[in-house]
Symmetry: C2
Subunit: 373 residues, 2 copies
């Protein structure tokens, strides 16, 4: 084992240039309760891309390998510069989560050497990553690093949605961009737990993926009868909370309006203020960066707000988090199985064409970085 | 005293016509703990207008007095008909609150006869209104019905904003359409209680009304440096909750973005997700019925939602409500003084020109119906 490893770094210069590079870093030495993981699989999640690419104009991407290792650059448009102010001049490590094999450990964690683990904490687009042993999910023998790669962000977010639904007194939920890896996990959770879920997808092919998994309510936003079908599904399930990965455009507001329309079938309105039943949309992604627009047709008992995994987990508390993590460990090969369409090396992750491809965040397409490749 | 009184009624026919009329109703007989109030002043609040006018096209208003009393009609546009479905064919009484003199009372409330009271409960655009004695705010002798007319909606909403600010852990607040009657009350409350308030107005004249009342932070949304001035005021006060009467358009989202920008001066961002500090806009009015648009510049710790007085009061509980009402009784001539630009009769309230005038909801203009006129 070499005493250095390769790590992907993202830097935005004070002059407004994004620079992606690979750098040598020492293989870390574990403290008494720490482990060192050889990362073999780390997904490129939508949530990784802001840190990786910043607000760069990807049309200006170019790569130069004349000094041996590639350095990829792109321009930050003048009017976006303020968004990157706080990180200017700082070389940052990227990658929220990853899977790999424990290759070194402190005294209290030596029993983990050789185990496949999933870990979270940033800086996973690297060959060797040190974490506290308690922060890893340890998988049964036979689990591959690739299976362990996406053990946190999607599995905990999907479970978190059902937790929030219950904690806030809703009896069913809505999910958008529902054919995503996360959406497929959510369908499997809801089928297993008997929770009513309304899935919003954008085409037939996506609908079929979900009905094949046992989804009962799938509505296609590209269909001419989308609005009517959504109101029917909402009336049938009583869903009054939605998790929206799209964020921008009219969808979040449209869901609120449709919830209100469904509720009005069986609930009285308070004068002209609509029903008294609270309707909630949580925006947990921003696939669409345009403004969220909310029409004035949801009454007054509604709310739209941001939702992030980390604050949710902090609020949920240690006991809940342990329960959710245990389910991930038990069901990584089934409920929480992820699918990847491309496995790339750290060097390939810097290729302009490849960057443009994973940046599209097309449903069904998912990239995995293998730093050991 | 006659045994009938005149009452304003609003009806939407199944054919899609709004009909406003005056009808004779019996003067009510009080139960043991009830009072009958001769209404002499009832405001036309923005919140009265949806019930009064429905989604009628006011360009089509016409009035016919050939049968003696005026009947005013207007057309509901075809594409708005569904909004009025639930009330079709029902003649409804209108007017949330009013002030008047107690003219009759049941056994346990006879001591109130002759007192000036403020009451709430709908159907106030009428000559005689019966309510439970405990639902009235009883004012000191010398208080006029006009002073008592707006004792609930604005005074309790203004106080409610400060209550919510405190209950949800914010240290200062923002108010839009801030030169309104309600806004002036809020300024006086905040000056008296030492609460930092950022007022958003639309012109110099409105700004002057508020600075004359002692407001420290007034920003003018028509000014070219509005955005910068708002961020400065938010940074100075630390306001992270806003109450927005406008609802539609970019203002609510703009406030969230400006709050985040102010917070970033002294708080770290969570990677690219913005600060961890929750930013809240409550939409309590819809002066603008266009969609609310929220740009993607507020991070993920934000929420926009509807806010209504009645659910707030129910949640706040009896003790809080009693405290808020007591302050109204004590300070009706000062903190909670309202200003009206026109006092009209029930008949005048049916005049098409007058309807169009009060429907404009121009800041500074406020109509009062005097059913005894």
């Amino acid at each position: 084992m070499s005493d250095t490893g390769l790590e992907l770094r993202s830097l935005i210069t004070p002059e407004g240039e994004l620079q992606l590079s690979l750098t040598d870093v020492p293989v870390p030495t574990p403290g008494p309760d720490e482990i060192v993981v050889r990362i073999e699989a780390s997904p490129i999640n939508p949530s990784d891309q802001p840190l990786l690419l910043g607000p760069a104009d990807l049309g200006t991407l170019k790569s130069d390998a004349s000094s041996g290792r590639p350095v990829t650059t792109a321009t930050i448009p003048e009017n976006m510069r303020h968004l990157a102010k706080a990180r200017e001049g700082k070389s940052v490590a990227v990658g929220n989560e990853g899977g790999g094999v424990v290759v070194d450990a402190g005294d209290s964690a030596r029993h983990l050497i050789g185990k496949t683990v999933g870990i979270i904490g940033g800086g996973m687009y690297t060959q060797y990553r040190k974490v506290r042993a308690t922060d890893a999910i340890v998988f049964p023998d036979g689990t591959t690093p690739k299976q362990a790669a996406s053990a946190f962000v999607n599995p905990l977010t999907a479970q978190g949605m059902v937790e929030v639904m219950r904690a806030e007194g809703h009896k069913a939920l809505v999910h958008t961009a529902a054919a995503s890896n996360l959406g497929q996990m959510l369908v499997k959770i809801c089928v297993a737990d008997g929770v009513d879920l309304v899935n919003i997808v954008r085409n037939d092919e996506q609908a079929k993926i979900l009905t094949d998994l046992g989804a009962k309510h799938v509505v296609d936003s590209s269909s001419p009868d989308f609005r009517a079908a959504l109101v029917d599904a909402l009336a049938e399930t009583g869903a009054t909370v939605a998790f929206d990965a799209v964020g921008g455009g009219p969808l979040a507001g449209h869901i609120l309006g449709a919830m209100e329309q469904a509720l009005l079938r069986t609930n009285p309105a308070m004068g002209n203020y609509g029903t008294s039943i609270h309707k909630q949309v949580y925006v947990y992604g921003r696939l669409d960066l345009s403004p969220t627009t909310i029409a004035a047709n949801a009454g007054f008992a509604w709310s739209v707000g941001g939702f992030l995994l980390t604050p949710f987990l902090m609020k949920a508390g240690a006991e809940t988090v342990a329960r959710l993590r245990k389910r991930v460990a038990d069901e990584i090969g089934t409920t929480f199985a992820s699918h990847y369409t491309s496995e790339i090396s750290l060097t390939e992750a810097l290729d302009p064409e490849t960057i443009r491809a994973y940046q599209r965040k097309a449903t069904g397409e998912k990239y995995l970085i293998n730093p050991a490749k």
